[in-house]
């Protein structure tokens, strides 16, 4: 228990901040994922073959490639890509992106692929009659989406989104390889300096379990 004390003697406060960091990363990633899902769900549902292909490419590649590889791509390639874009605008200085931004962006893209699949599935499982009925009633396309499709879609999507949320939360542990101090990284540091890895990693898994517990009961 002394190991978990707050202040200079223990690791309590460090682990607490790391926990907050994990929550912050997972929420940011989830929101970025929604943003991507918002772009790619219409593409996957569209009637155009080429648009369809782009949507399918995104979800297949991201869901078929290990998360760690995607994170490495962003970690090593992120600042290079930004610098390339900046060099087009005539800025040649070295740019380093924050580990938080790279990490949550990488996790967000992964989470987005899963969210896209969830949204696509729930839109497709809405009764066809709903679309037809709103068309017959002469409701405009965007009002049809907001007032008819969206409420029904969300009802179907929310149980599956909680699964996506769990996947996202567990994926945040992988960002520790980039050096962002979240729970896994902090446990790694603490385990290294106290030579007590069993305790700290068990504590980390305990924290993850309590998160999941909260969401499962909801």
């Amino acid at each position: 228990m002394e190991l978990l004390a707050f202040g200079k003697s223990g690791w309590g406060d460090e682990l607490f901040y790391a926990t907050l960091m994990t929550i912050a990363v997972s929420i940011t990633a989830m929101l970025i994922g929604f943003f991507f899902a918002l772009i790619f769900t219409p593409l996957k549902l569209s009637k155009h073959k080429s648009l369809n292909l782009i949507g399918n490419f995104y979800t297949t590649v991201i869901r078929g490639v290990p998360e760690l590889l995607v994170i490495y791509l962003f970690f090593f390639g992120g600042s290079g890509a930004i610098m390339f874009v900046a060099s087009m605008f005539g800025y040649y200085e070295y740019i380093e992106i924050n580990a938080f931004i790279t990490g949550s962006f990488a996790i967000g893209i992964i989470s987005g692929a899963y969210s896209t699949e969830v949204f696509r599935g729930s839109i497709q499982s809405i009764d066809k009659g709903q679309f037809e009925a709103s068309k017959v009633l002469g409701i405009k396309k965007h009002i049809q989406f907001y007032k008819v499709i969206l409420p029904q879609m969300l009802r179907l999507a929310i149980p599956n989104l909680s699964n996506v949320w769990q996947i996202t939360l567990k994926d945040t542990s992988l960002i520790s390889v980039t050096g962002l101090v979240e729970i896994m990284r902090q446990s790694y540091i603490a385990a290294g300096s106290t030579r007590d890895p069993l305790f700290f990693y068990s504590f980390a898994s305990f924290i993850f379990i309590t998160y999941v517990f909260k969401y499962e009961t909801n």
């Binding site: 542990s173 068990s202 898994s205």
Partner: protein, 225 residues
Amino acid sequence: MDFELMISSFPKLLNATVITLKLLSLSLFFGLFIGLLFAILRMNKNPIVNKFAYGYSYVFRGTPLLVQIFIIYFGLGQIEYLRSTFLWVILKEPYWCAIIAFALNTGAYTSEILRSAFQTIKPGFIEAGKSLGIPNKIIFYKIQIPIAIKQSLPAYGNEIILMLKGTSLASTVTLMDLTGVAKYIISTTFKPIEVFIVAGGIYLFMTFCVHNLIKFLEKKYGFQT
């Protein structure tokens, strides 16, 4: 785009794929037994056994795979007693630690898949077996298990793909699997996109194969119940 790097790194990555496939097949093999065992325990009427099996699957599904590998690889070495037993021969190897972690992880998911498959078997099948005078044990081996395997095929296919992606975490405990080698090449050449395309392509090809294999098996052995 550096095509030369892509071509030169391809054999190295392909070599590393062998380790990834070894990890995958061994962990799936052990995981299937663990999953079957815990699925049977889950259906036990004794609440203590039942809760134990539930707790196992809950803990392993609720925590990231990375934590599980770290606990087994870094954590277990800390226990003095373990170091003196024969288990230490296995636990000091990162390869076996990774396999133990993957097997326990996939075992938890497999137990859930099999449990739900067992529970969706129509009681008529079991009753028919009983009325034919078949002993309970044989009903279980010859009727329940084959039906459960057939019903759980699609979900198990997903689990195989998840596990294939999970084996990438072996690179965090110094194993040079596909992701480990990819990371090594990226960090020495600083050309992430090219390496990502090659390594990602190999992973995608493997997922593609697994996906089609499961589809084929479903078609061959699937039936409507």
